[in-house]
Symmetry: D3
Subunit: 272 residues, 6 copies
């Protein structure tokens, strides 16, 4: 990871090829590569829906994939590297990997932004205290984030699998949940202070994003989320897009969804 | 089929591995097994969207798959066994098979509930008098049901293939049809008396449920149907979920849709 | 192509097996055959959602696929043959091929209808002046159409990839664009004079139509477009349905979408 | 079916779109169309491995698909139509459908050739007396053929599923079986008199031909069978290629295998 | 796991739904269920190639899947349960799971058979001392087995990925390796004393068995292995079939290969 | 393309992302990236079957993908760049792209090696004088190569589609063809002087390599070709591996075949 070209005002895109904390299915470690392939695929272009052409915006910089020294320390390494990136004054958009990456990313961001808000799109709350004995599991990142005590608000949108334990965790941490059954396109979000955005691709109905490890029917459409982002009027300071699993993405459709989200979120981060 | 553990207030889940009455494509006989695999898959849990945890509800009982004595008598056997189950005071939710199973299931239920209402979600009316010379065809169950004279109302939702013959049948039997072109999420249903629910997975757009024999584009989203069920305020007394075809379900997405419906409908039946 | 049976009031369906002007992926040349297979598939019927049974409408005539004399002259041949067909007084619905076919089809129609309106559903504007040095590219047909000077209005719906060059082209030609982000089901269209309809299957979200060359997430649902057509109250005088790519259509779902559109648009053309 | 162009010395290719006698999975009715698509696909040519160019051989004639008057009489119709074709002095190669078509085809051929030999490549003996109460089942055609008393020898090659009942049938009818476990590429076949060739695509290992209803691993390679045909020095008088099931043929590989067999067998039939 | 019905002379089939020791891709935990589905699929029968009908052999008993008390103790539980089964005098055939199961299975068997031979078919030697810090990894079982000191001979067949570390391990443990490049169908195996058979489905070329986690081209055909088993004249005392990964098995072909191996190996174990 | 690190004795691996000269299906331009993904995939390692570990061989150098200045000059650019690479004394192995790349690669090599032999594995002769008016077509590279007059021998292996025109071309140029029907594993090759190796992945049966544009059944197994390479005792001076088409490679199997060939051929080139 070479930070020499990264400076204040940039948006650094960083691939996180990890999935060893996934509870059901590996695969997301292959995500960053496929997202780049889709981003630069000849079938599309780099212009966002608002007309912003990322291909001509010199602030948009791809740092490539993080190379880990050791799987066992991967979570800690992510926190360190993320800290180094945002210390430059650049924003960070991480792509790929499973959702376990959000815990260290949020620790790094919450140190810089002590009044951090989190806007989290997902089918799952990921609030488990531990999963299969693993507190770094991709089922736990938001429990870890809330334990830092440095998160002002956590707003979760699209949830449709809340069990008793997670409901208790949500209450304990004061998490605001907009369940998928209560969601509608007219909902808007207002935040006071910086906002970190975490998008788990399984917030989408599997029809739109079959290439994820956990198929949970009844989700959002891609349009729903894009339009929500277009309307979002906040101080977006960082984001991650997680859980692309190429093993289930037979014709590359989900990689293209992840690439589309990468473009739209990049434009949002660069505008902010 | 062992009924010794089934009693008043229970919900018996029964697999119906049949597809010999399918007119175009076999495969639904493999449905019940794949629906169970999806229900118990490590990628999800047994908590419904209303917070009801089926895994902890001792009234939710899986009877396994019905073993038929003879393919030729399968339809009659379904009626007999369904009658035995509901005679215990338990409710019945059948999973899998093609839509031909609804005829005997409805005969069994209409004997116990003489003022039966039927709420039927489907791309097709399934009102044929006969199909390819077969009156037990999966294209005919609601003609058979109406002929019993014991059905008060049949309300069909999501229909988008109504031809002349079926339109005549609908008029003859007084069927109420909410065609897919006229459907919108705000529609609510009011019934007087007991309601039987029949869900053909092809009511969904093939985008959401590719694993069905008859792809009919322009259907509902999974969210549409789940929200409709959540709003449903009726005396639900039985249900079936039919037409899962694993041959077209390459990455198991439709089995997961069927499992989701099984969970949500189970909760509804147990609440009633 | 045998026109002896075609006469005033008929709707001629013509397959256009071409894809040599595709910029990213070939395949659409196989589209017409697969669309016919889906149209006549035993899993569906030929009755449209309004009850119109095409199977019993003698005006609905399939001319088969156009056989080209030479790939290099294919675009010109399409214009000539289309002209011959509409000269009979019949309307023309072309099926399959890539979007390059719309340029010659529109030239033929604009000669007959000098005040032509175009209603165009697509993820892309296809307004490039040239693509990879090819002015017949499937990325250019609407630039070619506007250059004829015989098009009154071009209304594009569902666009979500507009880059700077195409935005300039749109301004230059006075194209009206309803971007996908601004689209909603309540939109209606009013035209003065004859309307030609061009449907690129990638206007749909790839969830509904994975079998296209250019996956662009965030598109319409099939229901959205069908309902829009049902509401359309115009003088529809011709249409094309393009960009079906069987290479990505693993279980035939997109061919069925194309067949459904063929039916609904045929009924609309025959009603007009 | 128009026989006016068929004459002595020709090879008539006839599609048989039937699968209602299939015991496990429908789909082969779609086979003939996909085989033609593959035959004429732009990715290959019509020259056989021996250099014979079918595209330039005017004796090679495609009659299209047989249109049945009634599903219930389809088996009888096949026998009648096949009889009419071979009465012209042309040979017949039927393509597609399930294996139930071989019974009527063999009845027609055995009437004309009373000393008929049959060379049959298959994973299964298809010697059941009946299957699921159906004597026309695709599991029974060779029992039916042997009951005519007009078959001199039936040689089955590639069998790997022989159960007790079929073993008894084989003994009763004097069938010669070369089980797959005993087969090797050096085997040659000698027949006295005319030979009818029946190729069930599941004789191939599913690796080579996944698009069949009955996956039976441990089969032949495509090369094995082609080389066996090249070496075959007999009086070949007719043939069928059956059991292509497009539902399992995700990228068209098996249709291409069926097309290749169609070419090689056609050349063999035209040479004889 | 109910052993009351298991006795001397029986063959107990046990599913092992584990994959948490897989280094690259999870999925094999779903294997046992899919193998049973394939075994009992209506498209095939239970007669082996030697005519042995397992469906009528009362010694062939399915114990279902092992239910683990804790993922962390799964390896130890397998050893205990396997020991209990073979203590009855029955033989054990385990199905499914990843290759980590062979270590505990071999420990259990080597206790009862101190002069154990192992015949191991695989693309990989699985002789790593540890993998990613895990000595129970599916890359290590044969290192673990050799360390017991109770294995007389380990013969590995089909290997095509031997790196330096594993070559050193092979030399250290005196492993006999028949690399795939040196294998040919004429090879026969002679063992003195009891033989345990371990079949990793990736010994097959991915063409035959795409549903495995590690695609390693250049492998055996299914016929190659079946014929090798048919010729095997040894005292076979136990076996496992591992590494079926349903996530990559789009049309169920590999499950059918695993089921075929289950049948052929069962017959061999019951004959011994 | 940075040649500063390339020197005498090295093997330079160069990706060629081109497919605009493909006659039937685009896709091979995506090949190089997928081949690298497979090469470095966590499911395999970089040790060749002869024990040679490419991961530890500093002479094995990946130059990345060639970036073209203009599609129209791509063929000329390949020739220039290849010439620059081999001028360093390094050997060149090109990966990906369609077969059109062999023409410029062979021009570059034949200039340095005036007595060049070519060993060409393919289902097709690729000897067309022109295809669809394009003399750079992927159907023509060996006609172009022979026209240079600097090729001593061209030996083609695995051919199974030779039509009249190509047979005439073969005779005209003195090409030696070992058709697939005549091939057997015992064949060995002897060359006098330097040998260039060209491997079109469609030489394999589509069972082994479904991810190619032209499915031609009846091909080699991967083992067949690997063993042939192992036996090859020649002065190998360069090679290409072409025609990987990711659009048809649903679970990445063919990319892995291409990666395996890359490894085995790399080892051969580095040994020579």
């Amino acid at each position: 990871m070479d930070l020499r070209n990264i400076k204040q005002g940039d948006l650094a895109v960083l691939g996180l090829p990890v999935d060893h904390n996934s509870s059901f299915m590996t695969g997301p470690a292959m995500g960053p590569q496929r997202m780049r392939e889709a981003l630069h695929c000849g079938s599309a272009n780099l212009t966002c829906e608002n007309g912003h052409d990322l291909g001509n915006d010199k602030r948009w910089k791809d740092l490539g994939d993080l190379v880990f020294e050791d799987t066992n320390t991967a979570i800690a390494e992510i926190e360190t590297r993320a800290g180094e990136i945002i210390a430059t004054g650049a924003k960070l958009l991480s792509i790929g990997g499973d959702h376990s990456v959000s815990a260290p990313l949020l620790r790094a961001h919450s140190k810089r932004y002590p009044d951090l808000n989190i806007l989290h799109f997902d089918a799952h709350s990921d609030l488990y205290d531990e999963m299969q004995g693993n507190r770094d599991s991709h089922a736990c990142p938001f429990a870890r984030a809330m334990e830092t005590g440095r998160v002002k608000r956590l707003v979760q949108v699209g949830i449709r699998t809340l069990n008793k334990h997670q409901q208790e965790q949500a209450e304990k941490f004061g998490v605001e949940i907009i369940a998928m059954k209560d969601w509608h396109p007219g909902i808007t979000f207002n935040f006071d202070g910086p906002v970190y955005l975490s998008v788990d691709l399984d917030v989408f109905d599997p029809a739109f994003a079959p290439g994820v490890s956990h198929h949970e029917p009844g989700g959002m459409s891609v349009r729903d989320l894009i339009n929500t982002l277009h309307k979002l009027d906040t101080d977006l300071i960082g984001a991650d897009i997680v859980e692309l699993n190429p093993h289930r993405d037979l014709v590359g459709m989900t990689a293209m969804v992840a690439a589309k989200m990468t473009k739209e979120i990049s434009s949002k981060l660069l505008a902010g």
